[in-house]
């Protein structure tokens, strides 16, 4: 089973929930940080990193000696990543989506596949649990291909917890698509409600069952709770605001480790998610 933890915007407590959930699930769990633009989970669980893979995407390489200048590659490219400048075919690898169209269309066989580095995936262990995360190279725009690579390294036979990137566009889709359950984390404020509505729309499009955790549940108003009730989104947990929790978070201590009384509630949360997923499967 793969459980993803997501939120319409960042800073709602997504990482707090993802780490505490994974730590409560026990050894046979994988924890995957798919927030490749701002990977933070490792700062809380301190994995012992074992190895690193360099992740690339395919980009075209033009062999000028074979190119006839027919312009077909320029015509097929939707992303202006291959253009004709002063009768030379030039590529702009950072704009290339790696669709392979130019290579497929070139009648002269002048295009080969090269690669562009978009980031790394690091693997490690923490308390016997498998940990992995992607780190997007600084200056690199395209997070989704790296996120998909992180996803492809998750063993579907084990339980996995994914910390998803914030938002509702392509990076979050890449991270949560085809997971079994999404835990949405939101704050009970107007910002929180606005972003939660967008997040719920997203999980509906992807048809993933979802539950809600309200973080800092006593700092705002009833908007989020009312909305969840109307939309039939189960509220799985409420975490009240507590300066001690905020301070422990700042220091990088996972909630269930700084406050062991929370461990039981997270174990319970795992069971609740299990039940919800089983119910849906019926």
């Amino acid at each position: 089973m793969i459980i993803s933890v997501a939120s319409g915007k960042g800073g709602t407590g997504k990482t707090t929930v993802a780490t505490s959930l994974a730590l409560s699930l026990g050894k046979d769990t994988q924890l995957a940080d798919c927030d490749v633009e701002a990977p933070n989970v490792h700062l809380f669980v301190h994995p012992e990193f074992r190895n690193e893979e360099i992740i690339t995407v395919p980009v075209p390489k033009v062999d000028e000696s074979r190119c006839t200048g027919c312009g077909k590659c320029v015509e097929i490219c939707r992303f202006n990543a291959i253009v004709n400048i002063a009768d030379t075919i030039m590529t702009f690898p950072e704009l290339c989506h790696g669709c392979g169209g130019c290579q497929a269309v070139c009648p002269a066989g002048a295009i080969e596949e090269g690669e562009r580095i978009i980031g790394v995936i690091q693997h490690g262990l923490c308390n016997g649990m498998d940990f992995l995360h992607g780190r997007l190279r600084i200056g690199e725009a395209m997070a989704p291909p790296l996120i998909r690579q992180v996803r492809s390294r998750i063993n579907p036979d084990k339980t996995a917890v994914i910390d998803a990137p914030p938002g509702t566009s392509c990076p979050v889709i890449a991270a949560i698509k085809d997971t079994d359950f999404v835990v949405l984390v939101a704050e009970p404020t107007p910002f929180g409600l606005n972003d939660l509505e967008l997040a719920i729309e997203t999980v509906k499009i992807l048809k993933i069952p979802a539950g809600l955790i309200i973080n800092r549940s006593d700092i705002g108003d009833m908007g989020v709770a009312d909305y969840a009730a109307r939309e039939n989104i189960p509220v799985l947990m409420e975490i009240p605001y507590d300066r001690n929790i905020a301070e422990a978070y700042c220091r990088g201590e996972p909630l269930v480790e700084a406050f062991p009384q929370w461990r039981r509630r997270f174990v319970r949360l795992c069971e609740d998610i299990d039940e919800l997923v089983a119910e849906i499967a019926l």
Binding site: G10, A38, C99, V105, I138, D195, I219, R243
Partner: protein
């Protein structure tokens, strides 16, 4: 005209609340909300929308079963596995590369442009505002960010506004890159947490990569004073200016709940003085 882009690396550091407060402190600004994935600034500023525009970007393939002879070429060529064995395109997976459309010999593939969202020109109580809403599960947020900033700049030029304040997106990828290029400065709002620090380091690098001068402000510094000291050292080491520390103040959240700026909610709240100082420093730096 100068543009200040406010970013945070990670969310939840109080970036938008700060932007709203600074909007009130500044003289005749144009405001842009470039956090198009999760735009929130309008919740505080409640602007009156004057113009609504469609945002068309990218294309999505779909197969017309009447014309398709099931040759399978499109499935073979699609690098996103977006076409199922029974010749249906999953619009969420489709990257819009058009390769299937180009190669289908039956002309069975349609490839219309997407309506990916909307952008708006509005009037807020502190000045004109450009904001947007990207459709959920859409791509091209970078392009929408660029559009919002371009429109903001146009309004600033036309109305002789000296300053554009842009509420930027999170992360380090395409929307952020689109948000900071060519700006006069970025203000990074961080918090003294291990993740705030880590993400701040990454966005400082992004700003450097694109040669945009960066400043840092540490919000909620008193939640972890040792961590805040650490961040200040790190900022210095990176040759970036720390423009101030803002204490943790529940008024930050409470003002937002009431759709007010910090100063409208309580001009004597502890954070006000600090935000005022940050703003002075920012203006000095921009000048």
């Amino acid at each position: 005209m100068k543009e200040l882009v406010v970013i945070s690396g990670k969310g939840g550091s109080g970036k938008t609340t700060m932007v709203a407060a600074m909007a009130q402190l500044s003289d005749n600004p144009v405001l842009c909300d470039a956090d198009v994935d999760a735009a929130d600034l309008h919740l505080i500023l409640s602007p009156g929308v004057i113009e609504t525009h469609d945002f068309m970007a990218g294309h999505t393939a779909s197969i017309n079963p009447e014309r398709c002879n099931e040759c399978g070429k499109c499935i073979e060529l699609c690098r996103w596995n977006a076409i199922s064995g029974d010749f249906v395109v999953d619009p969420v997976e489709c990257e819009g590369c058009g390769v299937c459309y180009y190669f289908c010999e039956q002309g069975a593939i349609e490839f219309p442009e997407n309506l990916s969202g909307h952008w708006y020109i509005s009037e807020s109580r502190f000045g004109p505002m450009v904001h947007a809403r990207l459709g959920v599960a859409e791509e091209n947020s970078g392009k929408l960010v660029t559009r919002v900033r371009q429109e903001g700049a146009k309004i600033a030029e036309a109305g002789s506004h000296d300053l554009v304040i842009t509420d930027g997106p999170p992360g380090t990828g395409c929307p952020v890159i689109a948000a900071i290029g060519g700006a006069a400065g970025v203000l990074i709002v961080t918090e003294p947490s291990v993740s705030g620090r880590h993400d701040m380091e990454r966005v400082i690098e992004v700003a450097r990569h694109f040669s945009v001068p960066a400043m840092v402000c540490i919000n909620k510094y008193d939640l972890n004073e040792a961590g805040a000291d650490d961040i200040q050292r790190l900022v210095k080491k990176n040759n970036v200016t720390c423009v101030g520390l803002v204490p943790f103040d529940p008024a930050m959240t409470k003002s937002m709940v009431q759709a007010k700026t910090l100063f409208e909610y309580d001009p004597h709240a502890p954070a006000c003085e600090a935000v005022r100082k940050v703003w002075e420093q920012v203006l000095n730096r921009l000048a």
